[in-house]
């Protein structure tokens, strides 16, 4: 009798094991997510090296679709009221229009929400104003569990996603597994974010010979590029670099003393105190207010800062000109023309691209 019991248990175990194996093999057999190449703009293709796409997270149609759904879904937040898009809205080039952003509990963070575009070309893969996130996948994990942002925890989020009527199938299609993890959710979000490419501004079309600039815009371009005038190009690039940022960290003379250490708070090196990532100057028409703490409400305030508002400090970047005079001392006409040029880098089609909007 004991032998019979043992046989039955073994048989049951065998059947269970076989069933599991069958289920896994059904998942794996013959199915691969559909590869999706990034839509690289001609100016990017011609001028800069290829984007960074991790070998362990290739772009796929299903991964991007899942990432887009997650990006717009408040299911990621603690009380399910906020999505990534709450602070990274497409109509604002994937930032918001407040200096600081409030989380689900009404608490405000200390940094301005960064706009999201052309992220796959951030070659050093340091993300956020202070560079604390070392990949887009790692960055995507953080806001969900940040107590002043989405104030959730990933265990709860995974539970919600796993019992949802749609997500298990979407994860299966994206990653060929029914096991939902935060790492896979972050991978999907990163895939979607890498598709957010902005390259259809008036200035892009000017470079492609499809638009003309006004005399004011051309003078503004010269102010931007001349070392003896604005000298903006050393940090924010030039027509041969369509990113319009060097993607590295500078102290641009905002403060004489620091309440926010920026990169220095991450590296622990005092010589990095007060340094923040140079943001791209694309889409400035939609991304006010400006700077890491959103202190400047308008582009005029930004230009005035570099013209006569620089504050000296031990870590101010030597690329800042005429610090002892407060800045580069632009005329009112040059300031207006510089603003006119900067606005030519705004891309209205980016705000309404149906691939990016909900």
């Amino acid at each position: 009798m004991k032998n019979w019991s043992l046989h039955i248990i073994c048989l049951a175990a065998f059947i269970l094991t076989t069933s599991c194996s069958d289920e896994e093999s059904q998942l794996n057999q013959g199915y691969e997510p559909t590869p999706l190449a990034l839509d690289i703009p001609p100016l990017f293709e011609q001028n800069i090296i290829p984007p960074v796409i991790p070998s362990n997270n290739p772009q796929t149609v299903e991964g991007v679709a899942l990432g887009k759904k997650l990006f717009y879904d408040p299911i990621l937040s603690g009380d399910q009221t906020q999505a990534c898009a709450s602070c990274h809205a497409p109509q604002n080039a994937f930032t918001d229009n407040t200096a600081l952003s409030d989380g689900i509990d009404g608490n405000f963070g200390t940094r301005n929400s960064m706009p999201l575009f052309n992220l796959a070309w951030n070659y050093n893969e340091r993300f956020a104003w202070d560079g604390k996130e070392l990949s887009l996948e790692r960055q995507a994990l953080e806001p969900v569990q940040n107590p002043v942002e989405m104030h959730s925890n990933w265990d709860d989020v995974i539970d919600r996603l796993s019992t949802d009527t749609e997500y298990p199938e979407l994860f299966r299609k994206a990653f060929n597994t029914t096991t939902i993890t935060k790492e896979l959710a972050a991978k999907a979000l990163a895939q979607f974010e890498r598709t957010l490419i902005s390259s259809n501004s008036k200035f892009d079309n000017y470079l492609l010979g499809q638009a003309t600039l006004t005399p004011e815009e051309l003078n503004g371009l010269d102010v931007f590029m001349q070392e003896s005038r604005g000298d903006c190009f050393h940090c924010h690039g030039n027509p041969n670099n369509p990113l319009w940022t060097d993607n590295i960290f500078h102290n641009n003379g905002l403060d004489a003393t620091f309440t926010d250490l920026g990169l220095g708070g991450v590296t622990g090196d005092p010589s990095d105190n007060g340094k923040f990532k140079s943001p791209s100057i694309r889409n400035l028409a939609y991304t006010a207010p400006y700077m890491h703490d959103g202190r400047f409400a308008t582009l005029e305030e930004v230009i005035n800062h570099y013209s006569e508002g620089l504050q000296n400090s031990s870590t101010i970047d030597p690329l800042m000109k005429k610090v002892d005079e407060g800045g580069v001392q632009l005329s009112n006409q040059d300031k207006a023309d510089l603003k006119a040029f900067l606005l030519t880098l705004s891309d209205p089609s980016f705000l309404t691209n149906p691939d990016f909007t909900n």
Binding site: E227, S228, V323
Partner: protein, 257 residues
């Protein structure tokens, strides 16, 4: 049949002979590696010295470095008969971030060379505006319309202090405008430098140490006065000329291994 046996013997000897050559490590060509080291009149500079260590320049100012990166190109191996083997390529040496090694893809024939040399910067014909995607990505360009185009040869930023100023900024940027304008508006004189390292015998993979004495940029033959030459040097033809003169003795050969 005898012919077949003879052929097999010949082939066997040939294979054995080839094997013996390999055992002797006689190489027809070898890889070269170039490691760049930096010092201030003999005091080694590391990434930790940036923004931390103050050096005294020839004019007596205390200088701290924030950023130093430069291009070297066209490493050339010259044979006794005058023939040159040129490694057609360049390296952006980023001292600030510790990117100090150049590993050219191609191998060069082993042998004795009467001179090894390289170009600091880019020769005029290779300083092509926007031509190099990696340099564009590193924002190493010189804006075309505003400053004549092409690439920086060196970007050296820092601060200086003396009896009248404290931590004043300087941007020692060396360029050569691709389009200097007509009449020339931007520096159009030669600013790249041919650096001779001397003879070298290469029998195997070889690593060259190339040294830059950063202090020399401020020293010989022109004592650099940061009080007058500190910023906006890119469109300053005279400053570019002085940089070129001071750069002649900046580089030297360290070790060959």
């Amino acid at each position: 049949m005898k012919k077949m046996i003879a052929l097999l013997i010949v082939l066997s000897i040939s294979f054995v002979s080839c094997g013996e050559d390999n055992d002797d490590n006689i190489k027809a060509s070898a890889k070269t590696t170039f490691n760049f080291s930096h010092d201030w009149d003999g005091t080694a500079i590391s990434t930790l010295d940036f923004e931390n260590t103050a050096y005294t320049n020839a004019n007596g100012e205390a200088v701290t470095m924030t950023r130093l990166r430069y291009i070297i190109s066209d490493v050339t191996f010259t044979k006794a008969n005058g023939d040159n083997i040129v490694i057609d390529g360049y390296k952006l040496v980023d001292v600030t971030n510790g990117d100090l090694t150049y590993n050219p893809d191609i191998e060069i024939p082993t042998g004795v060379y009467t001179n090894v040399s390289f170009t600091y910067g880019l020769k005029h014909e290779k300083n092509i505006d926007g031509a190099y995607t990696d340099l564009n990505s590193a924002s190493f360009n010189v804006p075309l319309a505003a400053l004549g185009g092409g690439y920086h040869y060196m970007q050296f930023d820092g601060k200086y202090s003396n009896t009248t100023v404290t931590d004043a900024p300087f941007n020692y940027h060396n360029i050569r405008a691709v389009n200097p304008g007509m009449p020339p508006v931007f520096p159009n004189q030669e600013t790249f430098i041919n650096v001779d390292l001397g003879p070298a015998a290469i029998s195997n993979n070889t690593t060259f140490e190339i040294k830059m004495n950063v202090a020399e940029w401020f020293k010989t033959p022109n004592t650099w006065d940061l009080n007058t030459l500190n910023q906006v040097l890119m469109p300053n033809a005279n400053a570019q000329k002085l940089m070129n003169e001071n750069g002649q003795n900046v580089f030297s050969l360290g070790s060959i291994n």
